[in-house]
Amino acid sequence: MSELANNFGRRLHYLNADYGVKSWLLTRDHKRIALLYLASISLFFALGGLMAVGIRLELATPGADLVQPDTYNRLFTMHGVLMIFLFLIPSIPATLGNFLIPLMIGAKDLAFPKVNLASWYVYNIAGLFTLWAVAQGGVDTGWTFYTPYSTTYSNSYVVATALGVFTVGFSSIMTAVNFIVTIHRMRAPGLTWFRLPLFVWAHYATSLVIILGTPVVAVTILMVAAERILRIGIFDPALGGDPVLFQHLFWFYSHPAVYIMILPSMGVISELITAFTRKRIFGYKFIAFASVSIAVLGFLVWGHHMFLSSQSVYAGAVFSVLSMLVAVPSAIKVFNWTATLYKGSVSWDTPMLYALGFIGLFTIGGLTGVMLATLGIDIHVHDTYFVVAHFHYVMVGGAIMGYLGGLHFWWPKITGRLYPVFWSKFSAIVIFVGFNLTFFPQFLLGYLGMPRRYHVYPADFQVLNVMSSAGATILGVGYLIPLFYFFWSMRYGERADRNPWGAIGLEWMTGSPPPTHNFHEPPTVDWDAYAYLPDTPGGTGEAWDAAKPTSEAPEHG
């Protein structure tokens, strides 16, 4: 019996290296922590989804027949708070990022494993604060906490929620510091910056945004809480405060935060597109630098949320132009992915369906973002369903598509099991259809003038709203199917081998699931990222894979 096998003679890996609740709750293994996060964020995703069900049910009819106006306000606020702060911001970094970054760079773990574990606990404490707020009755300010409503007039649980948002920021920061240090200091020999997978670049850029933006929103929320508790007037005009200052501070974080949500997803898409076209990515360096420039430019455009807030027109014009500039690196990525598809040997596996869905939906979301960044248009559609549709196209159609695509791509690596092909493709298509049916009508509604955040609307808008509610039902079903087959696959799924997709990357060179310390022999890298055709003899990932030395231990028993 060697250290490579467990008591039953099975190959030893991170999942069977140790059993019991304690071995999970006290683990420092980035792979196990990723799974802990996966469980936590899935819970909040489900809760946020439940609130969305309430919203869409109420909006199925023009009148106010299901919930009280005040309840409706709390529903959409809690939906936004849970989805943005507790689900989408941690989603890819804390799960796939946590799991994959050390594997992709050939490290044994993240630089600070204890900090990594602590970040999960901090996340859950934040979740408890937020749940506590929900249990008491929730918040009605909108996820943006605009003052002075949030500080002075709202009769809801602002402080408890603010505490949740404040705390969850720390867990993001812990993760981001860990990623930055790990990517700088722990790459395998030979793995230069320009050989890194683009997933790693994307997470590097995301981490920069997190460490520079999150503390600002943290201190802003602290001021809101102080104002509410001590009854002082930092942002209250009646007491000499400036509510617009709150908006500046809030959007200084919350615009970059949209890139915290989309950049990791873009990183996933870069991996998927190359793996399923069997081609090197087109314009590697452009994509890498696009991530970084999105991170930097993203800090200069927050004023596009404030065109109608008494901000000067000159500031508005500058923010308008800068916002359009941000669209350039995003477009570069989309063009490069598309160029990669050209003449690639495309295979239509489930993750690829998500990737293609991402490209289409993100393009629509991004282009409507440029429309919104145009001053003259935004004056008309600000605070309408057009904005709601825009950000759902980028966040749900973009970020969540990438998240699901990534989960399907690396699931065999994470669990060592395959999921059913038919059901996974079926659910990808259901999600795509349901998504568009839910949110496309909202563009039309907003364009026709339906404001956001109201529980009633003129009867003329009902047809489009019913379409949206019907779409939401389909979308919900689409999200439930993977839940079932992922659980099913953990027990009954066919076993995956080391590299089920024939993809290139260090993570595919170790076992599925990987051993606790990731590699039995520390890898050395002397090839570029995505060294598919025509760089390698044989041309395909499989041939490349066979030619490379594996770091996998022999199967025992």
């Binding site: 240090v181 001021m223 009854r231």
Partner: protein
Amino acid sequence: MAEIHAPGLAHHFDSYQQQKEAAFFGMWVFLATEVLFFGGLFCAYLVYRSANPEAFAAGSRELDIVLGAINTAVLIGSSLTMALAVHAAQVGKRKMIAAWMGATILLGGTFLGIKVVEYSHKIHEGHFPGPNFVWHGPEVNVEMFFNVYFLMTGLHALHMIIGIGIMLVLIPLAWKGRFTPESHNYVEGFGLYWHFVDIVWIFLFPLLYLLDVG
């Protein structure tokens, strides 16, 4: 494959050098987040001071420059003792690490004590913001100065309290010889944090106390 275990070297690092670089780099990145954390407050300070210059000057006149100056000296002194603790760690004198950190705690405690005196004066005079705030002068919106004053100095003090808490953990470890010349990243990393907290004060003191001098 045999696992070679060096004392104080975590399993996932290849060398002390790598571990040390990671620890320091992590600390610097963390301090960057701290800069932006205080940055939000400095931004609010800037906006409100430029909107209410008289009120800010009037509020500032209420602060005790002598106590503020003493506290500045005390904090700079504590940075010196902290630097000496780090030096002791580099040359491997475990008892001196503990002693210099003890001195740092004493100075930090002195700072906080003086701060308590200042705060209680202000509260006593009705200058604590909130419904009970009183101001008899002609200036309007002086309360905003005190909002900013209490928030900034309060958060700074909180950072010092956390720092003292961490030293209370580090001192027994130092005494037991946990820190060697090869491996004492906690001491040096903490030193960076403590110096950072001092530097914040170096900005706070003139911005809050010396507005109307000269």
